[in-house]
């Protein structure tokens, strides 16, 4: 391989080019081959080689982070390199790593600040200057990193205030690139923990941008304003006249950016004006992407802030007719669900539905207008469901309209399915109708099988009115319906089929597996072949073959109760995977241009007036025009001032959402939560103790999280079941979305522990000693010192319990005096969930004694390597409080536990996993044999040896809390073929890496 040869060359140029190639195109599998060579190059005497080596490692980090995790130390070295270029190159890696996990790199904040200070202060060689600005792109990169590090972290942010201030001050040169730096500075200032002085300066900068005559700066200013406005809406007030001007800017890009800004400041008072502006822009633009994007935003705003029913329906009509078939299907789904589920007030709901029905009837009255298919589908559903709100005689008329549409050739067959479903629903409400008879006659002979099916259904239901009425009840689209998802009524049919010699049903994955193994029969690759014939006991067993209702046992568990009304059947195709519907086909050319805008005026007369007068006013005097703008401004920026006054820390969502979506699952969830609140609040304890409070909140959250997990699991299961259950799934996912925020809120509240908990706490504290003894039985690491000073020393130890990782910190007091309020705290880390184990909060540490702090660590999402940082603070007799920081490295391996299963279970599990990785590993000690190698793996990686059959071995483990991974290995001479399978995609890769290390190391 040429690259390897070039990397070893003594010619600088060749090495240089080889490194450039490696960092551009390089296959993942080849990394181990060149990694040591590149690591060598980090020590090279030429800075260009060192720089390129760092960039190559960056590439590796991008494509296979696991493989370079052991060289993180070397990245730090690169960051401290004496050459600016090498240091700058390492920033790319750090930017990426910090973006993924900012808590692990807080200790580097000081270094980044120092570097930036040096760059800003002009300490770099002159050739790094660009138009006499020192290394602008480097400054920008550093500012971005600082922004990530300082986010929501006061202590870290405080370190960078000075340098940010200096950056803002220095960048006063009037050159484009300084504006780029300023822009980044402003963003950083608004991302980190706020400081008033800096915010003011940044706001002034934004003002300079926005008011600039240069259009590029104006754009940048608007972008910055859009960003900061979420934190400080009053800034929009300062620049309102500029914003109004930008709204009418000839450049559509500026206009669009302004709309984006307005979208962020929308509230219930200005929604009509802003949506009006957006619709205006929408009618002008032709690009599909813009339409999709804007339509989504309008729909969102309309749902959130609609002032009244009429406006809401009109706006949604505009959305549907413009967005039509390109918009996101969620918009129409949400709209229909909103109508169906309704709000708190039943009378209001009926009014809204009635209004929708009436407005659609008016729209359908207009001749020669073509509506998008999606819009017609929405109409037909609403008409089918809610026409009963009209007079009895009107229903017949509705059917006639639907029939007319059905006979229209330009309507897609999918929409026709919706239409006929609507007709079916309406038919059950009237006694007899000629139109229906005609329709049945027409479509029972239709060439479209789907339509013919619907027509026959209608025909037979029509004959049995009683059945039809019970099947299609009025206004019950949200009611629960019992469905026998296990299809047990088919058991007899299945049994009959089996007795006549039909093949039993096999689940999908089994069929696939069989097909695969058949293919493998022709494959001469020894590994695959032997695997399929070696035979796990579970493999050929008929465990997967099932009879009758067992086949759908899964669905029986979860799908028994469906919230979905059956009436939607036949039209559910819309929610299928196809996404967009086929484009509408027009017969005549001139009609295609007719904009399918709703014919009624938009129900916003008041605004229309201001706007139309505004148009006229252009011919009038300048002052008049100004006045109009002021008027528009006042309508746009209403509600931004005092009422939603500066709210820098948290964005309190004070606006009440008129169209709040109702979700039943969510409600029960919040009830649960509130009952939990009640329990805690009712038992008020007079002893305020911050530690206990925190603990309590964590446990509460803990419970919530588990609930959530369950729900998420359920929704996944459902998703895989079938598409008919989609609405239910949506609800569930809705719920899992809303619940975290619910618990986030609970953080704010102050909980008092109940007396009983305090009591149990005391008990547990006394049990602490025995707890420690208990832990001695589990596997644990020896305590290692992680930090110390002359008074205390902190060491940590990991205890690998069966169900969790227990971190124990031992704080030893080396002095003679007594320590007051010794306390240990762990910074919250992204990947972990920490639960304090009892016994961690003793009032004082006795002299010459050791205090233990225990934390239960749970992994929230898989990672390979992460740091857990924290600090110890204590108080000597009368001196000040001393704080000592430390960090502990945790690897995924700490969360791997043996999975004790039988060979048969192994076989079953093996088939159900989709992610697999295979690799051959050469054993250094070929004499060792399979059993001893597996033994090593068992000891070092905590894998469970399931079985050893000849020269094959089966291993199983699980990643806490419960992600299993299976390993199949086979020994040929001195090569061990490893085959991993797991339900988690990244786990096999990681385990392979660890196994390789163990085997090659042994």
């Amino acid at each position: 391989m040429h690259v390897v040869k070039d990397l070893q060359s003594t010619n600088l140029l060749e090495v240089c080019m080889a490194l450039t190639i490696v960092s551009q195109i390089f296959p993942r599998e080849m990394i181990p081959a060149v990694l040591p060579l590149i690591e060598d190059k980090l020590q090279h005497s030429k800075e260009i080689i060192r720089k390129k080596a760092v960039l190559a490692l960056y590439k590796f980090h991008l494509i296979a982070p696991n493989q370079v995790q052991h060289i993180h130390v070397k990245f730090r070295k690169a960051l401290c390199d004496r050459d600016v270029g090498v240091m700058a190159a390492s920033l790319h890696i750090y930017f990426r790593m910090i973006k993924e996990n900012s808590s692990g790199y807080k200790d580097l904040t000081g270094s980044f600040v120092t570097i930036l200070k040096q760059v800003v202060g002009g300490k770099l060689p002159v050739d790094f200057n660009y138009h006499s600005v020192p290394a602008p792109w480097l400054q920008i990169q550093l500012l971005r990193i600082l922004g990530l590090l300082g986010k929501d972290d006061q202590r870290t942010s405080e370190l960078m205030y000075d340098v940010l201030d200096e950056s803002l001050r220095r960048a006063e040169l009037n050159h484009n690139v300084t504006y780029a730096i300023l822009f980044e500075c402003v963003q950083t200032v608004y991302s980190i923990y706020p400081k008033t002085e800096l915010l003011e300066k940044a706001a002034k900068c934004i003002g300079k941008f926005v008011l600039s005559p240069k259009i590029n700066l104006k754009y940048l200013g608007l972008k910055a304003l859009t960003y900061v406005i979420q934190q400080d809406p009053t800034l929009a007030l300062q620049h309102q006249m500029t914003i109004i001007e930008c709204l009418d800017h000839p450049d559509p890009i500026i206009k669009r950016e302004t709309l984006e800004l307005l979208y962020r400041i929308t509230n219930a008072q200005n929604v009509t004006v802003i949506v009006q502006k957006m619709l205006e822009y929408l009618h002008q633009s032709k690009e599909e992407y813009i339409i999709v994007n804007l339509v989504g935003k309008i729909a969102e705003l309309a749902e959130k802030y609609a002032p009244d029913n009429a406006w809401f329906i009109q706006t949604m009509n505009a959305v549907f007719s413009v967005g039509g078939d390109v918009m996101h299907p969620d918009i129409s789904n949400n709209f229909l669900r909103l109508l169906a589920e309704g709000f708190d007030d039943e009378a209001e709901d009926q009014q809204l539905r009635l209004y929708a029905v009436q407005s659609y009837l008016t729209l359908l009255d207009v001749e020669n207008v073509f509506y998008p298919q999606r819009f017609l589908q929405v109409m037909s559903w609403v008409l089918g469901e809610y026409s009963y709100l009209l007079d009895k005689e009107m229903v017949e008329e509705v059917i006639t309209k639907l029939y007319k549409l059905l006979m229209n050739d330009s309507i897609s067959s999918e929409t026709k399915a919706w239409l006929i479903a609507a007709v079916t629903k309406l038919t059950s409400q009237i006694h007899s109708s000629n139109i229906v008879e005609k329709l049945i006659q027409e479509f029972t002979t239709s060439l479209d099988t789907c339509m013919r099916q619907h027509a026959f259904e209608l025909k037979y239901l029509h004959k049995n009115m009683e059945l039809m009425k019970s099947l299609l009840p009025v206004d019950k689209s949200c009611e629960d319906m019992m469905v026998d998802a296990s299809l047990s009524f088919l058991d007899g049919f299945v049994a009959e089929g089996l007795s006549q010699g039909a093949a039993p049903y096999k689940p999908h994955h089994q069929r696939q597996e069989e097909k695969l193994s058949q293919e493998k029969g022709l494959n001469f690759e020894p590994y695959g072949l032997s695997f399929s014939s070696s035979g796990f006991t579970g493999r050929q067993s008929p465990a997967g073959i099932s009879l009758g209702s067992d086949a759908s046992a899964n669905s029986a568990e979860t799908g028994l109760k469906e919230t979905n009304g059956l009436k939607l059947e036949g039209v559910k195709k819309l929610w299928g995977k196809e996404g967009y519907l086929p484009k509408k086909d027009h017969k005549t050319g001139d009609e295609t241009e007719v904009s399918p805008a709703p014919q009624e005026n938009m129900g916003m007369e008041t605004i229309d007036q201001t706007l139309t007068t505004k148009d006229h006013s252009q011919v009038l005097t300048q002052s008049k025009e100004e006045k109009e703008k002021q008027l528009l401004a006042s309508s746009l920026f209403v509600g931004l001032g005092s009422e939603s006054a500066v709210n820098l820390l948290g964005r309190a969502d004070t606006v009440s959402h008129k169209f709040r979506r109702k979700s039943k699952v969510k409600e029960t969830k919040s009830e649960e939560a509130s009952s939990a609140h009640n329990v805690t609040c009712s038992s008020f304890s007079p002893l305020p103790n911050a530690m206990y409070e925190e603990d309590y909140v964590t446990t509460l959250q803990d419970g919530g999280d588990k609930e959530l997990e369950k729900l998420a699991l359920g929704s996944e299961l459902l998703a895989s079941e079938s598409l008919t259950e989609l609405p239910l799934v949506e609800k569930l996912s809705d719920c899992s979305l809303s619940a975290p925020s619910l618990f986030a809120d609970s953080d704010m509240e102050v909980f008092q522990p109940s007396p009983s908990t305090t009591a149990s706490f005391a008990k547990e504290i006394s049990l602490e000693a025995s707890l420690l003894r208990e832990t001695a039985e589990c596997l644990h690491s020896d305590p290692t010192e992680i930090c110390n000073n002359e008074i205390v020393s902190v060491s940590s130890s990991k205890i690998w319990k069966d169900d969790c990782l227990l971190m124990v910190w031992l704080v030893t007091n080396k002095s003679d005096s007594e320590l007051k309020s010794a306390n240990l705290e762990i910074f919250p880390a992204e990947n972990f969930k920490l639960t304090e184990e009892p016994g961690s909060c003793l009032p004082a540490t006795e002299a010459e004694n050791t205090t233990t702090f225990q934390y239960n660590v749970q992994m929230e999402k898989p990672f390979t390597d992460a740091n857990l940082c924290g600090f110890v603070n204590y108080q000597m007799m009368d001196t000040v409080c001393v704080q000592l920081e430390f960090s502990v490295n945790l690897s995924l391996l700490d969360f791997i536990r043996p999975l004790k299963i039988s060979t048969e279970d192994f076989g079953k599990l093996w088939l159900s996993f989709a992610n697999d990785v295979k690799q051959n590993v050469k054993m250094t000690d070929s004499e060792a044999g399979l059993p001893s190698t597996l033994k090593t793996l068992q000891q070092k990686l905590r894998l469970h040896v399931v079985d050893i059959i000849g020269n094959e071995g089966l291993l199983a483990c699980q990643l806490l809390p419960s992600t299993p991974c299976l390993v199949h290995c086979r020994l040929y001479a001195d090569v061990l073929a490893l085959w991993f399978r797991s339900s988690c995609p990244s786990l096999p890769d990681y385990l392979l890496y660890q196994c390789q290390k163990v085997i090659e190391g042994s």
Binding site: L13, T20, I215
Partner: protein, 144 residues
């Protein structure tokens, strides 16, 4: 992140294209035509940043040649705008008064310069002297 780097002339002919994210070959031509169309349609008093689909285009015109850079929305537009100028300054230094012809006939060298400056969608070097070092060594070697 930079998604692609294009040099296109007013007639719509692509002089150089470099993608930092995989785009299928037949889609590239389509993308390039659309990109140049949207750049050409803009006048000089309009903003140099265009929102195109889910990413942004930043363009700068030098005589008949457009340099267009596509970035995602995490990028600082002005920094890229100035980066384009930096790139042109480097070309100018190397070719002494660069022209479209220089780029056409020395495409390999232009690519080398670009590779020194941008890797994996990140700006990795902006120091003019350092960008040109490897190229100058190669030139010296081929002379001797």
């Amino acid at each position: 992140m930079i998604k692609f780097f294009l040099m296109v002339n007013k007639q719509g002919q692509t002089r150089l294209s470099k993608y930092y994210e995989h785009v299928e070959i037949h889609k590239r031509t389509l993308l390039e035509t659309e990109v140049i169309k949207s750049c050409l349609s803009r006048s000089s008093d309009q903003c140099s940043f265009i929102e195109y689909k889910d990413f942004k285009l930043i363009y700068r015109q030098y005589a008949a040649l457009f340099i267009v850079v596509g970035v995602n929305d995490t990028e600082n537009e002005m920094a890229i705008y100035e980066f384009i100028h930096n790139f042109v300054e480097v070309l100018n230094e190397y070719f002494s008064r660069v022209s479209e012809l220089d780029i056409m006939f020395n495409l390999d060298k232009v690519h080398m310069i670009l590779d020194e400056m941008v890797l994996n969608g990140c700006i990795v070097e902006t120091n003019r002297a350092r960008i040109l070092t490897p190229l100058l060594i190669i030139d010296k070697l081929s002379e001797s």
